[in-house]
Amino acid sequence: MKTVFRNPGAGARLTLAMTPMIDVVFLLLIFFVCTASFQPLEQVLPSNLVVSGAGAVNAPVEPTPELDEVVLRGEPAPGGAAWWVNATPCPTPAALDTVLGSLAEIDATLPVIIDPAGGVPMGDVIAAYDACRRAGFLSVRFAAAAE
């Protein structure tokens, strides 16, 4: 009768070493947690400046188009800023979109100057700027009064 001999160390050698695998798995976990950004992705809105007043600022001069410019004036209001496009009042964002859209259909190359009052929240200012870009205007600038 033949006897089967078993090597007592063979079983132990075949088991997987779990510790390095757990090390690497945890490191991968930390890597993904670190690379994931929990903040909303930021974008940018490029802007140009228009300086009015007596300040001695040498702004680059661009050729003035033959048509008039579009001036967007804003005043603080309880339910959001109230805007005037040249002399046309736009009490709501929808009205502002409509007026800007109709102007942009005529000539989208008209320069738009945003001139809000000091008390207008920046959220409303940026919303108006965004509306100008959405309407298709190519040149949108901010007015800053030099004292």
Binding site: L27, L28, L45, S47, V57, M122, G123, R134
Partner: protein, 139 residues
């Protein structure tokens, strides 16, 4: 003479696990340190929303970030800076930047335009014409 056996040859193989551990630890270290460095210049603000924002991942020009807190106080590179010193500071940064300086304004949506207008004026006085506003995407 002692000949190398199969078992001894296997033991001589390089163990990759500690090397992967160390490499990953280094990667995490650099990630965390760069994240902390970025947090120094970016205050926690409720940014305005816009639907036409651009991604500027490929813009490599030198940049100065100005945070405007809800109360209107400006932070230049994370440091509170009086408005009357902004133009001089920006002029200095502009002279250091060969490719032209970009000023990024991160303003809280509750801050008033009166707080941002002097910053725009300081940029104009310093000759910085690349001014961008940080926004979040409007959904």
């Amino acid at each position: 003479m002692r000949l190398p056996t199969h078992a001894t040859r296997r033991d001589a193989g390089a163990n990759m696990t500690p090397m992967i551990d160390v490499v990953f630890l280094l990667i995490i270290f650099f990630l965390v340190s760069s994240h902390l460095a970025r947090q120094e210049t970016q205050a926690q603000l409720d940014l305005p929303q816009a639907a036409t924002g651009d991604n500027d991942a490929d813009d490599l020009r030198p940049r100065v970030t100005i945070n405007v807190l809800p109360a209107g106080r400006p932070l230049l590179s994370g440091v509170p800076t009086p408005v009357d010193q902004l133009a001089a500071r920006l002029r200095h940064e502009q002279s250091q930047a060969a490719a032209g300086l970009e000023v990024r304004i991160r303003t809280d949506r509750a801050a008033r335009y009166a707080a941002v207008e002097p910053i725009l004026l300081a940029c104009a006085e310093a000759g910085v014409w690349k001014v961008t506003f940080a926004v979040t995407e409007k959904r």
